[in-house]
């Protein structure tokens, strides 16, 4: 049995099912409110949901029992009296030491919890970084949407910000450095690219068995880093489109990555839904579309709406679309099945 936490434009849906067959909706929560992200901390079992209430603002909620009460976490806010307000929480990630979690949000902020997510504190070094005035909003805002801990080392972390590039720390977030070398922003004038900070990274993932390796889906280009995110090589050759939002890795295989390319012009699939897989670190890509719609299918798959559970031969993959469909694979993308349909627009999918 697999449980999926699905954040949608109109609330949290919990789906249960056997991989290979359609899942059932077992629970709804935050009915009517945008749930931008939901995840279960594998260490504590605690479930978190990032809810952006149109009335009461953005908030992280947590529960130890899905059918029980949810509590609002404390401290998920910007400093009082400033000129900005928190707009949204994009991602929540379990850290590497006991009780630690991270959350990323808009406007380009990182929060950290050391008590299993009950209270949070803003990372001041990133908030007050001197380059911040040069960061740029994209159409989705100014978002910390990807957080990649380093397995076994809580001092090391990589972030991706849209549109402010890749950021790295090796002192637990006391200081931050860029990791942008090699990323080419072809939406900028050629003369501006070398020194650009406003790099629109769409998603970043670390290969946990080889943590110095990361993959990222860029706003035009798919990249790999083998030096912990300091420099990047374009590995998008062979893909039908180099634009896309989510990216997933097989935790067992540092040479693996999966992307869902969409056309640059309209940011939807080009009539066929195809997941592309590499097993040689981006040297070649293989189309994985058995069981996916191949006619008149123009899907938008958002950056948090593609996720994996398990690894290796038992790798399960799930992605959802803003049209309310979820597809899954129980055999590492060799074949796909319909998980759910007719849900509200899907913002995030995470196996619990």
């Amino acid at each position: 049995m697999t449980e999926l936490l699905v954040g949608t434009r109109k609330g949290l849906f919990v789906l249960d099912g056997e991989p290979g067959s359609r899942f059932e909706i077992s629970l709804r929560a935050f009915v009517g409110d945008p749930v931008d992200y939901a995840m279960r901390d594998p260490r504590s079992g605690r479930v978190f949901a990032a809810v952006t209430s149109p009335f009461w603002g953005p908030r992280i909620w947590f529960t130890d029992e899905l059918r029980g009460d949810w509590q609002p976490a404390r401290g998920v806010a910007l400093p009082k009296g400033g000129s900005e307000a928190l707009k949204r929480i994009w991602v929540i990630v379990a850290g590497e030491d006991e009780g630690r979690l991270y959350a990323g949000g808009d406007p380009g902020v990182l929060f950290e919890s050391r008590d299993d997510g009950e209270t949070w504190a803003l990372n001041r070094a990133l908030w007050e970084h001197p380059t911040r005035p040069r960061w740029r909003r994209d159409s989705g805002g100014l978002s910390v949407h990807s957080i990649a801990p380093w397995p076994g080392d809580p001092q090391r972390l990589a972030l991706a910000i849209s549109a402010a590039g890749v950021w790295l720390t090796d002192d637990g977030g006391e200081t931050w450095s860029h990791g942008n070398e090699g990323i080419v922003a072809d939406y900028l004038p050629e003369e501006a690219r070398a020194t650009a900070i406003d790099l629109c990274v769409h998603h970043l993932e670390r290969a946990p068995r080889r943590p110095e390796r990361l993959f990222l889906q860029f706003h035009g280009g798919v990249y790999r880093s083998d030096d912990a995110g300091r420099s990047w090589s374009d590995i998008g050759a062979g893909l039908p489109h180099d634009f896309g939002f989510p990216l997933v890795v097989d935790p067992a295989d540092p040479d693996s990555a999966y992307v869902v390319p969409v056309t640059t012009a309209d940011r939807v699939t080009d009539g066929r839904v195809v997941v592309w897989e590499t097993r040689d670190a981006g040297a070649t890509w293989i189309a994985r579309n058995r069981g996916l719609p191949q006619d008149d299918a123009y899907l938008s798959v958002l950056r948090q709406a593609f996720a994996a559970s398990g690894e290796g031969t038992s790798l399960e993959l799930y992605f959802g679309a803003t049209s309310g469909e979820i597809f899954g694979s129980a055999d590492a993308a060799d074949s796909w099945f319909g998980v759910a349909q007719r849900l509200p627009a899907i913002a995030s999918v995470r196996p619990a």
């Binding site: 149109p54 009335f55 307000a85 928190l86």
Partner: protein, 86 residues
């Protein structure tokens, strides 16, 4: 002293009290005072800038009010989510 009536989530966050007496000269001061006296409400009505959240309406004696609206001692204040949808 003005009386603030809360419903739903706000009532719960304020400790289950549906009506709270608050001393303030204007609606804006009242909302700040309300957050100070009931920390569970912090950030729910006013954002970090101190700005009334966009889809929250405040009524004084049944009439729509703004943060600058002045208050009298016996005013009844209601804080409600706005009509919205889509």
């Amino acid at each position: 002293m003005a009386i603030v009536r809360l419903r739903g989530q706000l009532e719960k966050l304020a400790g289950g009290e549906p009506e709270l007496p608050v001393e303030a000269g204007t609606v804006g001061e009242l909302l700040q005072q309300l957050e100070r006296e009931h920390s569970g409400l912090e950030g729910w009505i006013l954002d970090e800038r101190g700005v009334l959240r966009r889809h929250i309406n405040v009524f004084v004696n049944g009439e729509p009010a703004e943060p600058e609206t002045e208050l009298q001692g016996s005013d009844k204040i209601e804080i409600l989510p706005a009509i919205s949808g889509g």
